[in-house]
Amino acid sequence: MIHSLFLINASGDIFLEKHWKSVVSRSVCDYFFEAQERASEAENVPPVIPTPHHYLLSVYRHKIFFVAVIQSEVPPLFVIEFLHRVVDTFQDYFGVCSEVMIKDNVVVVYEVLEEMLDNGFPLATESNILKELIKPPTILRTVVNTITGSTNVGDQLPTGQLSVVPWRRTGVKYTNNEAYFDVIEEIDAIIDKSGSTITAEIQGVIDACVKLTGMPDLTLSFMNPRLLDDVSFHPCVRFKRWESERILSFIPPDGNFRLLSYHVSAQNLVAIPVYIKHNISFRDSSSLGRFEITVGPKQTMGKTVEGVMVSSQMPKGVLNMTLTPSQGTHVFDPVTKLLSWDVGKINPQKLPSLKGSVSLQAGTSKPDENPTINLQFKIQQLAISGLKVNRLDMYGEKYKPFKGIKYMTKAGKFQVRT
């Protein structure tokens, strides 16, 4: 099971260590540093590193490496999932997960880690339960604690810990009972030079924010549940009913949670809401190149495309770029060779474009690789897969809750090759 955890920052300092079994010397991280050195970028550090006596499994998030040390055969996914859960918990507790934040709350961090694992076995990883055991720090509570001498450690066994619905605590009370559901879809796509889709798929999630008194039992039905053939549910969802009736039936956790995530595969046709017209050329003879891109809407179902961001990693030979955008702002970093253009909204009448010239290093041959363009965008009130919630019903409680549903489509890993 998980032996120890080391947190390492971008400059290679171990700023926190936690051991759940015997203490493992931090020198074990030297193997990690070696691997880090070999990898050109932090993202490329392999997640599983063998050392003579241990295995180091790491995740890289928020510019921090979370390195778990294991000694025996442990499912690596279990460890990696757990590490991600740790990061999520930190984020949940402190708003952001950063080195400064962790150092500022080191005791809480330590207490939380101790609650999450026992001898390497996960103990409490549901943030609901954790928050009952260790109260997240708030300014108010810190003040109150200082004055009254009370603690931020709960001294009661969290009620959810052992009930049939471990994700929900009892005795929840709200004056305004409300349940919001966000259907968020991300399009992952690769578009080739000519504009045709090589691969496109939709990763969707339904995130919920449920603030309901008591023990509500909810059912959520869809207009077109057939779309969902590959789904992962929150443990609260009754799988049997989904199998038989294609209805989501569940007692929700309190607060924010992810109800389900789904995947609409490449088999189905995925609508691509934007297109990019590009003309990027480097010439062998001159040290100048041409650069021109235009972004336009495609299948948007009549909705506005907003929050458009274009970024592209230019080849090493590019010295500078002189560009004029028709709208928005653009930045080219001559060191990292990263071009980014914050476009904003797309007006179908006047398509945004970015034009100009590229200056190349003199004397070298033209770059071999063409830059790939990364695209980000948002479309409100649209689930691009066509998924629609039919209705939400509540049983088990008497009051009438306020219900809301929101749709959004975003670009995930949306890449256009040039």
Binding site: V153, P166, T199
Partner: protein, 1057 residues
């Protein structure tokens, strides 16, 4: 106000200050101080000096303070064991606390204090907590057992905690079940032999119920535990699969992958015809695809596993090619894995897409990735023949880019394409040659040289090209040098007139100026070939090359099957069995896939039950009883012969009719694989080498003269040879399978082997060695495997053996431990050899001597048994036995029963005398009571005897051989196998034998040193000879080089002779 303030006090008297604060009266100050201590601890500062002060704060009702102190304790208790005792009382008290949270906290912390002295105080509180009314405490206590086991395993066993833990599997709370399973799995990992997790259908049912209700982490433990279960039939497998399938929709990827493991494993048992099988296949694809949209670290582990799954069952993901397309901002480790899977999934249907993608990747920035992409194009060409042309043109396009590493990789793969499709794409050679100068990597240079040499006849300036390489010959790597040597020799053979000078140059460079033995040897071989017989040289050097395989980097099927059982583990990430790398895998149990019920190919009835996984797991090196009988029966008889039941004999010893035996038919006897050998019997491996040579020679001629008449009658056509059995399964030997048998022909023993290469690589450099054994068996010649063994090839070898090797008593006696080496590794196995290969040709005893000896054999040395269902008459028996060097000395008829008197001699000079009684009255029943050592008894399993024989065999052991045995432990002694297959024969009853007035007896000549065979057991089956006492003086000077005929040296016997 944040915790960072705790870090700001790093100045001189910090520890001192903290000490003061810890001892403060104010609660709040105390807590702050402990927090400071913890903060220092987290950054790796040593604050162990504060131990007593911190522990003093432990007695508090403030839960946060308590927790903080516990945190400190866990970290430092080990370094301060004496002080840690101070904390014990508080723990014991806390375990009684009314608040379950505190009870659980106490039991949890106790287990984390890794101090031996403390552990014994823990037992009582832990026992209480394991039975606590609150499930939260119970589940915490379950984990504590695992902690304690890690510290002191013996203590946990002695206290019976393991049983309590096993009981918790049936707990009503699923969380407790999950933790109990997790704890047991962890304990079991350090004790692979123990059957802690002894799963049966009932416990499986409990686990499956708990699976639905416990936390995601608990589900992982339960699923991993389920994966170790072996369902008894396909129905059970299917019902488990049905209940596991919903886990595929879990949000936690580890749960998904563990579920995939269970399904992949149990699917093996389902018939492919089953509708459910197809449904399951369809259900497996979406969750695997979903795993690829997770974080990159998860993707990586998932991809490594998908790589295995795709190799095992390509049909699952064959339509999902697109999800493996690489995004340019994927981490490199994900990119490389995706590429690997893309090639595995490439087929005619999707090759166009794949090629377009690969071409795209070949223009990316990352060098490693680009190289792999270029190589992938070549692999596609080799895999999908229809695409070869397109691949070649893509590669040519890439070569045109002139990007150095792209060109080099392209040339390496084009070489492979030439190998796969000879005489098809040679038109591109010109383009390749243009890039000759830019090649700076050895592999690319070697590939180019190979191409030039191979197609020398089509390249006009091949000699110039190769000559240009030759200039810097000594600076090249070995790979290039070897390739250059071969290429120039090829060129010479194709264009002998122009290139004589060149070839001489390279040969002299390789043989005279190089100190690389490989290069020199190859140079000399070519040189001699060319100088002795150019035609032969042509045949050798320009021989047709074997085709290269379509798939590269495939995992060997046996390893793949094992790895499928390890899906989701580190083993699956490294594609190695855990035994190969996991530290402290104390004898990891090999896992294997369950056998398929209805065979996938032949689609048998789905109802047929699997024959139990265990059998498949350990391919029997020693043939089972059934096999033995099968072997024995492969002769001329239908009904199976039961094993030799030991029976009483009451044979009369009258006038021994001296008749030479030996007729026409050969009696085959199989001794070898009988598990009956497995008894603890010791046997005197008295090598005849200890015999004075001068005695041997005259006697042998004498014996020969005496029995000339009989040997003329019997045609010795060699002894029985058992069919070959698998000795070393491929799974255990990295793909090398060895099967074999032993035989004796015209006085020489040989081991007939079949070596089969079930791996994907060529095997060579075979060698064999035996461990010391009871009869000194040793290879008489080295193992000769002439050509390297290509994949899926077998070779038959007959290895001559002699008996002059070192002697060591083995158990069982005829056990032989063998080591076989090849270029991959050394493998060990053991086998049992049939004893009859040790029966020497001069095992015929003089009649008078037989008579005299017979009488002197003490009772203890007798053994007897019956053989049933033989339908041979006395003559046939006799001749059959003679084929195996068991000679008939005399034959007589007593009351209508044929009696045969027989002798045989082992290579080490031990004589065995036997009486065989054949009862013609009841042809279906053949009692053969034989006073006979049991290990030999097996050699008298005369299958094929149609007569009803009652045999009485006596043993005569030569003690004069004993000096050679000095130093051998328990060298002699015959034991009877405890479980002789009983077929209803007369049970052994020696007393009754003894009561008989004219019984036949085994005898052993009196040893000079002591009575060699003290009586041991006379009542029931086992007849044992006690160990010989080794005689005092070995006579090394008298040792003849090879087993010679034995001469009885005992005065009384000599007189008789």
């Amino acid at each position: 106000m944040t915790d960072s303030k705790y870090f700001t006090t790093t100045k001189k008297g910090e520890i001192f200050e903290l000490k003061a604060e810890l001892n403060s009266d104010k609660k709040e100050k105390k807590k702050e101080a402990v927090k400071k201590v913890i903060a220092s601890m987290t950054v790796g500062k040593d604050v162990s000096a504060l131990f007593p002060d911190v522990v003093n704060c432990m007695q508090t009702d403030n839960l946060e303070l308590k927790k903080l102190v516990y945190l400190y304790l866990m970290n430092y208790a080990k370094s301060q064991p004496d002080m840690a005792i101070m904390a014990v009382n508080t723990f014991v008290k806390d375990c009684e606390d009314p608040n379950p949270l505190i009870r659980a906290l106490a039991v949890r912390t106790m287990g984390c204090i890794r101090v031996d002295k403390i552990t014994e105080y823990l037992c009582e509180p832990l026992r209480k907590c394991l039975k606590d009314e609150d499930p939260y405490v119970r589940k915490t206590a379950a984990v504590c057992v695992a902690k304690l086991h890690d510290i002191n395993a013996q203590l946990v066993e002695d206290q019976g905690f393991l049983d309590t833990l096993k009981d918790l599997i049936s707990d009503s709370n699923p969380m407790v079940v999950a933790n109990a399973v997790a704890a047991l799995s962890e304990i079991a990992e350090s004790h692979p032999s123990s059957n802690l997790l002894d799963l049966n259908p009932q416990s499986i049912n409990k686990l499956l119920t708990a699976l639905n209700e416990c936390t995601e982490w608990g589900q992982i433990f339960i699923l991993d535990c389920l994966a170790n279960y072996m369902p008894k039939d396909d129905r059970e497998a299917q019902s488990i699969c049905e209940r596991v399938t919903p886990r595929l929709s879990h949000a936690n990827s580890a749960v998904v992958l563990s579920a995939v493991k269970v399904l992949m494993k149990f699917m093996e048992m389902l018939s492919k015809d089953l509708d459910y099988y197809g449904t399951l296949l369809k259900k497996l694809a979406p969750p695997l695809v979903t795993l690829l949209s997770a974080e990159p670290e998860l993707q990586y582990v998932a991809l490594r596993n998908i790589n295995l799954i795709v190799q095992k069952r390509p049909e699952i993901l064959k339509h999902e090619m697109k999800v493996f397309f690489v995004k340019y901002n994927d981490p490199i480790y994900v990119k490389l894995e995706k590429l690997d899977i893309m090639i595995r999934l490439a087929s005619q249907a999707n090759i166009a897409q794949v090629l377009a993608e690969l071409k795209e990747y070949a223009t990316e920035v990352d060098v490693d990735f680009v190289r792999k992409a270029v190589r992938a194009i070549g692999r596609c060409a080799i895999k999908v023949e229809q695409s070869a042309e397109r691949c070649v043109s893509t590669l040519l396009d890439l070569i045109q880019t002139k990007v150095n590493y792209v060109v080099q990789e392209a040339i390496v793969v084009i070489k492979d394409i030439f190998r796969k499709y000879p005489n098809k794409y040679e038109s591109v050679i010109a383009t390749l040659c243009e890039n000759l100068d830019s090649l700076d990597e050895p592999e690319a240079r070697a590939a180019m040289i190979w191409i030039v040499g191979e197609y020398a006849e089509r390249i006009d300036n091949a000699d110039e090209l190769l000559e240009s390489f030759l200039e810097g010959f000594h600076d090249e790597s070995t790979q290039v040098q070897l390739q250059l040597l071969t290429a120039i020799v090829k060129l010479f053979l194709k264009k002998p007139t122009e290139t004589q000078e060149l070839v001489q140059q390279v040969l002299s460079l390789a043989t005279q100026d190089s100190d690389n033995p490989d290069l020199r040897d190859r140079g000399y071989i070519y040189w001699r070939l060319l100088s002795t017989d150019p035609v032969a040289a042509k045949e050798v050097v320009l021989a047709e090359k074997p085709l290269i395989s379509e798939e590269t980097d495939l995992i060997e099927p046996t390893l793949l099957d094992e790895l499928i059982c390890y899906i989701g583990t580190l083993a699956s990430v490294y594609h190695k069995p855990p035994s190969a790398f996991v530290e402290g895998s104390r004898g990891v149990v090999h896992k294997s896939l369950p056998p398929r019920t209805g065979s996938s190919e032949s689609a048998e009835s789905p109802d047929a039950a699997p024959s139990g996984g265990q059998a498949a797991e350990q391919p029997a090196v020693i043939p089972t009883q059934g096999d033995l009988l099968g072997d024995l029966l492969n002769l001329d008889l239908g009904p199976p012969v039961g094993g030799p039941p030991i029976a009483t004999s009451s044979v009369q010893m009258g006038a021994v009719d001296l008749l030479g035996g030996g007729l026409d038919s050969l009696l085959r006897s199989d001794v070898g694989g009988s598990p009956a050998m497995g008894s603890g019997s010791g046997f005197a491996p008295a090598p005849s080498t200890a015999m004075p040579a001068n005695l041997g020679a005259p006697l042998s001629s004498g014996l020969g003269d005496l029995f000339d008449l009989t040997s003329g009658v019997g045609t010795l056509s060699g002894s029985y040879v058992a069919p070959k059995t698998v000795w070393l399964p491929a799974m255990k030997a990295k793909g090398l399978e060895i099967s074999g048998t032993f035989s004796r022909q015209v006085g020489s023993i040989s081991m007939d082997l079949v070596l089969t290469n079930k791996a994907l690589q060529v095997m060579s450099d075979f060698a064999i060695q035996f461990n010391r054994n009871s009869f000194g068996l040793a290879p008489a010649a080295p193992l000769q495997v002439h050509a390297p063994l290509a994949p899926n090839q077998s070779v038959e070898i007959s290895l001559p053996l002699n008996t002059v090797g070192s002697v060591m008593k083995m158990d069982p006696l005829n056990n032989l431990q063998v080591a076989v080496k090849n270029n991959i590794d050394v493998f060990y196995f053991s086998t049992l050899y049939p004893l009859h290969i040790l029966f020497v040709e001069d095992g015929k005893m003089e009649r008078q001597m037989f008579l005299a000896t017979w009488k002197d054999i003490p009772n203890e040395n007798e053994a007897q048994f019956q053989i049933k269902d033989c339908s041979l008459n006395a003559d046939a028996v006799s001749s059959k036995l003679q084929g195996s060097n068991i000679f008939t000395i005399a034959k007589r008829n007593v009351e209508g029963q044929d009696m045969l008197y027989q002798s045989l001699k082992l290579t080490n000079g031990i004589w065995v005398l036997a009486e065989l009684r054949i009862q013609p009255s009841n042809p279906s029943f053949t009692p053969v009571p034989v006073p006979f050592p049991t290990f030999l008894a097996a050699s008298f399993l005369w299958v094929g005897m149609s007569c009803v024989a009652l045999t009485h065999l006596s043993v005569y052991l030569r003690t004069c051989c004993l000096p050679a045995l000095a130093g051998l432990p328990a060298v002699a002694g015959f034991g009877v196998v405890p479980e002789m297959p009983s077929t209803g024969g007369v049970p052994v009853h020696l007393p009754s034998l003894r009561n008989h007035p004219e019984e036949l007896r085994c005898c052993c000549s009196p040893s000079s040193s002591s009575s060699p065979f003290p009586p041991k057991e006379a009542g029931a089956g086992p007849v044992c000879m006690s160990p010989f006492l080794p005689a005092k003086e070995p006579a090394p000077g008298n040792v003849p080089p090879a087993p010679g005929p034995w001469k009885p040296v005992l005065p009384s016997l000599v007189g008789l002779g």
